[in-house]
């Protein structure tokens, strides 16, 4: 019997095949010769220091085109669109205009989702102050983030194309308002692969009071191979669907069943020679490993009390804070991209009360994540992103305690992963209506994120339907001022 050599041979063949396919079909010509070389060269030996990781296949760890400042991403997506005017973009002038109609020239050609654009202005609801050595300005709602003000960069000049939630969320996550395109996370794992052999490369949490407007397409693979789909984790219970053994099947029975499956699969591989069977054998092994690694990952009781306190997380409770702590645990274990969707920020009404509550739910954990990553030396190469899909109108909606959707101006912050800490980029007009200085469009943000991950956003492409698609379509300028 020469079963083992046949298996090895088939595996090697399969790796070579995958690599070629990777380049010729999946990569187009986007990655350049250096990447080609390393992809081909990398196929015969495992990445040094990381035994057990399949050296090829779409999720194998891959080097980036430029030296990457960020190796992984944690994206804290504040779905629903937080009010920049109550959080980061201090507008004392707007307070003076409270109750007055906006200047007519401001509204030229402007469409609003719900309100008549010609509605009265509403002054900011909260006090602002400067924090840290950098003097970053933020509102009283975020005392914890104020502590790490010197570690983050605030962008006050974001703008986008869409002003309904679903299209805007899809736009922020995929660079297109049309559904069916790959998400930022999918592009990232497509470009960089995974560094984990037993956890998904792209993990998603949803922690808000609702799900996102864009749904699963926010973290979808679009036309990329579906292996790049984000995997939705629950922050409590079984984190991954169908992770637990069926009732009546214990770990030993599962292993024994798997042994029988794998032996029969190996026999079949020897007989028919299809390398896909070798991949299936690997998939089942990784699934088995995930059955123990995922619960281990999720077990927050293993965290010391001071860390739990830092985040405000309670083991067994599914909260934004738990998800932030899990995000750190995931990136420690090699997951490439973690995205937390917190859909809670659509304050058409009850602006002041809801903002207070949302910040109470998230502020401590946001700051803790920065501190914790920093303490572990992970912040340097972990990019943390905070923001929603658009901003909110300086005009009031419904009485005196709500704001409508607003695409022309909003704020985000970024930290770590090569971001210049302690800086404020951009500015808006006196009403926070239009971004005016150092405007950053969604495509620019994407180009910058990809650049931090080591990619030229114009070259990370995928051929589909006869053309090379990219995250930034034909737009996007890297915002060099943001990069340290």
């Amino acid at each position: 019997m020469n079963r083992i050599p046949v298996l090895q041979q088939a595996l090697a063949q399969h790796q070579a095949h995958l690599t070629r396919r990777w380049f010729f079909r999946d990569c187009g010509v986007g990655l350049g010769m250096a990447a080609l070389h390393s992809l081909l060269g990398g196929s015969v030996e495992a990445a040094p220091g990381r035994p057990g990781i399949s050296p090829s296949g779409p999720l194998s760890a891959k080097p980036s085109a430029f030296p990457a400042k960020a190796k992984r991403v944690i994206y804290l997506f504040q779905a629903g669109a937080p009010s920049h005017l109550e959080l980061f973009d201090h507008k004392p002038e707007l307070a003076k205009w409270n109750g007055k109609l906006p200047p007519a020239e401001l509204l030229k050609g402007y469409r609003a989702a719900f309100i008549s654009p010609n509605s009265k202005l509403l002054g900011p609801k909260f006090q602002f102050a400067r924090h840290g050595q950098s003097g970053q300005e933020m509102s009283e709602l975020m005392p914890h983030l104020a502590r790490v003000a010197d570690d983050i960069a605030i962008v006050k000049s974001m703008h986008t194309d869409a002003f309904n939630h679903a299209p805007a969320q899809i736009f922020m996550n995929t660079g297109s308002q049309q559904f069916g395109r790959p998400s930022l996370g999918a592009w990232t794992t497509y470009g960089l692969g995974s560094e984990s052999s037993d956890l998904p490369a792209y993990v998603v949490f949803s922690t808000g009071s609702k799900g996102t407007s864009g749904g699963a397409s926010n973290w979808g693979a679009g036309f990329l191979p579906s292996v790049h789909n984000g995997v939705l984790f629950r922050s409590g219970g079984d984190p991954v669907l169908y992770l637990s053994n069926p009732k009546g099947v214990d770990a030993t029975a599962q292993r024994q069943t798997l042994d029988a499956i794998q032996e029969l699969n190996r026999q079949r591989l020897g007989r028919v020679g299809d390398p896909e069977i070798a991949t299936r054998i690997n998939s089942f092994e990784m699934a088995y490993r995930m059955q123990s690694s995922a619960p281990e990952l999720m077990d927050l009781r293993k965290e010391p009390q001071h860390i739990l306190d830092l985040y405000g997380a309670t083991p067994g409770k599914t909260t934004y804070a738990s998800a932030c702590l899990l995000a750190r645990r995931l990136v420690e274990r090699g997951t490439r991209f973690v995205q937390i969707f917190h859909e809670a920020w659509d304050q058409h009404g009850n602006l002041a009360g809801d903002l207070k509550r949302n910040c109470a739910d998230t502020d401590r954990a946001n700051a803790a994540l920065i501190q914790d990553l920093k303490a572990r030396g992970l912040l340097d190469d972990t990019l943390v992103i905070w923001g929603g899909e658009f901003g909110r109108t300086p005009m009031v909606q419904g009485g005196d305690d709500g704001r409508d959707h607003h695409p022309n101006c909003f704020s985000m912050w970024l930290a770590g992963g090569g971001i210049r800490p302690g800086m404020t980029l951009g500015a808006s007009d006196d009403f926070g209506f239009n971004a005016t200085v150092d405007k950053v469009h969604v495509h620019d943000l994407h180009a910058t994120i990809l650049r931090l991950l080591g990619f030229d956003h114009e070259k990370l492409t995928y051929r589909f339907q006869g053309r090379d698609f990219r995250l930034t379509d034909v737009f996007g300028e890297v915002v060099h001022k943001l990069i340290a």
């Binding site: 749904g215 339907q465 006869g466």
Partner: protein, 983 residues
């Protein structure tokens, strides 16, 4: 690609699409550049290298092979004469010989039969079918197996699924609300069309313009559901026009990918970079689709249609009897008509606009009516304001009007097109003096129809626990929000225009007229505005009259129209019948017959709503033709010059004088002169059989597509399909194509592969071996259900809800709470085709195995192989249920010994018998489980049934431990690579 004769060069590519200055070379320099470009292109065309350049289409690109209609090529010469069954094989063999390769031997008969079953029906053969086939030694055994499977109703289910991918079918709207939608009648139409082998040209025509065919049938109208599979955004504040345009763009994309094989959507924003389609040509095609209503009809199942036609006949007979027994009915009816002709007061329409935040959006029509659209809050008050000149107003009329854009034609917005008006309120303001304001009190309400008082249906439950009813129109002015005016006349008669008249206690008297603010309180929807619980008004109109005696005209709108405007002698029989049907209800001496007819109406079948497309009529409110304009950069807010209908110049022409109807477009798409249509469909079919198309990019045969592996074979198949060489075979018969392919020797090869061949041809493009790949997600699940005996093979009907984790359908996994009522009966075991498909919450089993979610047209699924798939087939409850059911079958039917039972289960799952070395690990697994159960490590009942209660009803001699151990074996079998694979 190794071995490829045409190597694609690395060349500078434009990376994307949506940039676009529509430019024509103006300067001298640009003329020079354009000239150089053509020269270069002429030189490069053979290697597919088209490069920079923005917009101008040119001669060179039009030379692309796929732009010329296919011509039947001569069969190539081959050296080897002993291989091949039909012309397909000549092309395959010629290619193999050119590559220095040899075909593989034929696969063994069991493998072949399983392959054939999975390909033609998506279900594996039963061991009995295998035995029958093995026992059939006649020469046409294969042909008979093929014929049997092509005639199976499951054939349409299996192949319908591929078309539904292309048609981006889903059971929900997408976007944040992602509400359920009713389009499964279309899904059933597709399955049925394939089963009856509707020729492909008809198949396409009916889906794009079935409603416009002469004497269009109900089924042909249902077929236009194809055009309704676009996503729809009804989130609060969404502008319906924006998403109507988005839907149109999606339709273009879908037709491009699924029918034309051309990536036309690039040209939405600018001229195509590579293929000779200009932005103007894109909008010319767009113009064919821009004049329609996104409509909905009541569709009846075949048995309902029978019942309905029978009832209609009985009603006609009853009316005929009345005419017979009343010989002077015409005179009497004319006298009645004369008596009602002048009985209506003069009404003045008040044109209104919506005031307040735009949760719901409103279209204004030329006749002063208003149609609600987009987001539909379930409990709210809509305010409308209009001015009016009358010095004194006593009566106020609210008409509810049907409209092709409303569910089932309306007049309301509930899923059946119904509405409930909780309260009608009005404030009148003096035009001269705005401080002079009255809140109008109403004392009398009349309506042409109100339904009997009834409690709200479950779909409108608002979880308040309050008793909420609807019925008589007086409820609209009774000051109570729990009662409403209802207009539900039941199946068959619901969807008609209705009206109510409200008379004020005191006339509104303002000498210069009044500003009227109408409040429509619509509190009779359910608790969840993110679901299908609206009960809002759809299209309506306000009018006023000084007449304090006014009552709602009892005549239906259509009858009133005939009575007033069509003299008796000029009426069509249908018009006369319509007047008669109303008139008879006014005759007390017809009471008995009327009661009988009423009883018949009450038996009318319910039917189900179905999304369809309907053309604008060209005249009448809301029916005027839309002008198509080119959008700058594809942005609907930047319309530019007007564009008329037309087709891309590089494709076949339209017939002279062709109009701009969808039917013109549909016929053009399937014109046999079309260079791509047949090739695209044939290529897609080939892909399903062999894993890869003859051109890999089945969605794009344009200049950027990779070289075909067998271009001549593609052309031969395309021509053979349109002009079959076998007598008696109709053109465009898909079953003919299926038969051709599965009859070839190429298809029947063994799929085994050695290292040398794998190295030479890793993707099996040259087909020196048979196809071998993991089946689609639906089939993965269907196999488990089928081999375990759980499958419920019922065809068609509403989508079903197999088990799924409940949390997926609740926030925060879902945007809003969704309804997923797990099926308790055998509907949980229906084929995966029927599983309800929420776009935002894809069914997890199918998603894990790469099923697309319907966001966009998908003609080529990628196949992944992931740990999440392994977790699914190992642990998902229905896979576990299948293992338990299969084990139960093996102890019940499989024989007396362990080995017999293992062999039984093995054959169910894999169709073949195990080899001795394959039995060994399974026996070991069995023994391991038995001993662990006896040692108390695991519980037999739990493993066997997932429940703790003891297992009963086992055959004599079978212990729960034995059953449980066989469950482990069955579970292993269901998870084998071979099980999930077409070998």
């Amino acid at each position: 690609m190794p071995g490829s004769p045409q190597i694609r060069l690395d060349h500078p590519r434009d990376p994307g699409h949506c940039v676009g200055v529509v430019n024509t070379p103006a300067s001298f320099a640009s003329w020079v550049r354009a000239g150089l470009r053509i020269l270069l292109l002429l030189g490069w065309i053979g290697v597919g290298a088209t490069s920079w350049g923005a917009s101008s289409t040119n001669v060179a690109r039009r030379d692309h092979w796929a732009w010329k209609p296919p011509v039947r090529p001569a069969l190539p010469a081959v050296r080897r004469g002993d291989w091949g069954r039909n012309p397909i094989d000549r092309f395959i063999l010629a290619r193999l010989e050119a590559e220095g390769l040899k075909p593989s031997p034929e696969a063994d008969r069991v493998t072949l039969l399983r392959r054939l079953h999975l390909d033609l029906t998506g279900l594996p053969p039963t061991p009995a079918e295998v035995d029958r086939f093995l026992a059939d030694k006649t020469s046409d055994a294969w042909d008979r197996a093929v014929s049997g499977l092509l005639a199976s109703p499951h054939h349409g289910e299996r192949w319908g699924r591929h078309w539904l991918d292309a048609a981006r079918y889903a059971d929900s709207d997408g976007f944040e609300k992602d509400k359920p939608r009713f389009v499964w009648a279309y899904r059933d139409w597709v399955v049925d069309a394939l089963n009856r082998d509707l020729p492909y040209d008809r198949f396409v025509i009916e889906q794009i313009a079935g409603d416009l065919l002469p004497e269009a049938t109900e089924s042909q109208r249902v077929a236009t559901g194809f055009l309704r599979n676009a996503m729809l955004n009804e989130e609060g504040g969404a502008d319906p026009e924006q998403f109507r345009i988005d839907g149109l763009i999606d339709r273009m994309d879908c037709i491009g990918k699924a029918v034309l094989g051309i990536t036309i959507q690039c040209a939405q924003c600018h001229d195509h970079k590579y293929d000779p389609i200009s932005q103007e040509e894109y909008y010319r095609l767009f113009a064919f689709l821009n004049n329609d209503h996104e409509s909905s009809m009541v569709a009846y199942s075949p048995s309902e249609q029978l019942r309905r036609d029978q009832l209609a006949r009985q009603i006609r007979e009853e009316e005929e009897k009345l005419r017979h027994t009343t010989p002077d009915w015409q005179t009497r009816m004319a006298a009645w008509e004369a008596s009602v002709r002048g009985d209506q007061p003069k009404w003045t329409v008040v044109r209104c606009e919506h005031v307040g935040d735009h949760g719901e959006r409103f279209y204004q029509y030329e006749d002063g009516s208003i149609r609600a659209a987009s987001y539909a809050p379930t409990q709210w008050a809509a305010h409308f304001r209009g001015t009016n000149d009358l010095a004194s107003i006593s009566a106020f009329r609210l008409e509810q009007l049907t409209d092709p854009n409303l569910p089932c034609q309306g007049p309301g917005r509930s899923i059946h097109g119904m509405a409930a008006l909780s309260e009608f309120k009005l404030t009148a303001t003096d035009r001269e003096n705005p401080t002079n304001k009255v809140s109008v009190k109403f004392i009398r309400a009349t309506a042409d129809f109100s339904n009997d008082e009834k409690p709200l249906e479950a779909e409108f439950d608002d979880r308040s626990g309050k008793k909420r009813t609807y019925g008589p129109v007086a409820h609209a002015i009774d000051g109570k929000m729990d009662t409403a005016w209802g207009i539900d006349a039941g199946p068959g008669r619901r969807n008609q225009s209705r009206k109510a008249v409200f008379v004020a206690e005191k006339p509104v008297v303002f000498p210069k007229g009044a500003i009227l603010e109408f409040e429509l309180h619509q509190e009779h929807g359910g608790w969840n505005s993110d679901d299908l619980q609206t009960h809002n008004l759809g299209r309506f109109r306000f009018s006023v009259s000084p007449d304090a005696q006014a009552v709602a005209d009892p005549l239906p709108v259509a009858v009133r129209e005939i009575v007033m405007n069509v003299p008796a002698e000029r009426r069509t029989p249908a018009q006369t019948a319509a007047v008669f049907s109303f008139w008879r209800t006014t005759r007390t001496n017809f009471a008995e017959a009327n009661a009988r007819i009423e009883a018949l109406w009450r038996q009318w079948p319910e039917g189900a709503p179905a999304l369809v497309f309907a053309a604008r009529q060209g005249r009448g409110p809301g029916e005027s033709r839309m002008v198509t304009r080119l959008f700058r950069r594809g942005d609907w807010l930047k319309p530019e010059r007007e564009v008329t209908h037309g087709t891309p110049g590089f494709l076949h022409p339209l017939p002279p004088g062709a109009d701009d109807s969808r039917l013109t477009l549909a016929r053009w798409l399937v014109d046999p002169r079309s260079p791509t249509t047949a090739r695209v469909a044939v290529n897609r079919l080939w892909q399903q059989y062999f894993g890869t198309g003859l051109v890999e990019t089945v969605e794009d045969l344009g200049t950027q597509s990779p070289p075909a592996s067998h271009r001549e074979l593609l052309d031969w198949l395309a021509v053979e399909w349109m002009q079959p060489s076998r007598p008696g075979v109709p053109p465009w018969s898909l079953k003919h194509l299926h038969r051709l392919i599965v009859s070839s020797s190429a298809y029947r090869q063994s799929s085994r592969v050695g290292p040398d061949l794998l190295e030479r041809d890793p993707h099996n493009r040259w087909l020196a071996r048979g196809p071998r790949f993991r089946v689609e997600g639906e089939i993965v699940r269907d196999i488990a259900l089928s081999v375990s005996g759980l499958l419920n093979p019922t065809l068609g009907g509403r989508a079903v809800y197999p088990p799924a984790p409940e949390f997926l359908f609740q926030p925060p996994a879902s945007y809003g709470p969704k309804t997923w009522v797990e099926e308790k009966g055998s509907d949980r075991y229906r084929r995966s085709l029927y599983t309800f498909r929420f776009r935002s919450i894809p069914y997890p089993v199918l998603q894990a195995f790469d099923a697309p979610n319907g966001d966009a047209s998908c003609v080529r699924r990628l196949r992944s192989n992931t740990p999440l798939q392994a977790l699914t087939s190992l642990n998902e409850p229905q896979f576990v249920e299948a293992a338990q059911a299969l084990a139960r079958r093996s102890v019940d039917e499989g024989g007396k010994t362990d080995e017999q039972r293992i062999v039984f289960a093995f054959r169910q799952v894999l169709s073949r018998s195990p080899r001795p070395e394959e039995l060994r690990p399974l026996k070991r697994l069995l023994d391991q489980q038995r001993s662990r159960i006896s040692e108390g490590w695991v519980n037999a009942a739990e493993m066997a049934t997932s429940r703790s209660e003891s297992v009963t009803g086992l055959p004599p001699g079978v212990t729960p431990a034995t059953l449980a151990a066989h469950v482990a074996v069955a579970r292993a079998l269901l998870n084998l690579d071979e099980t999930l694979t077409k070998e």
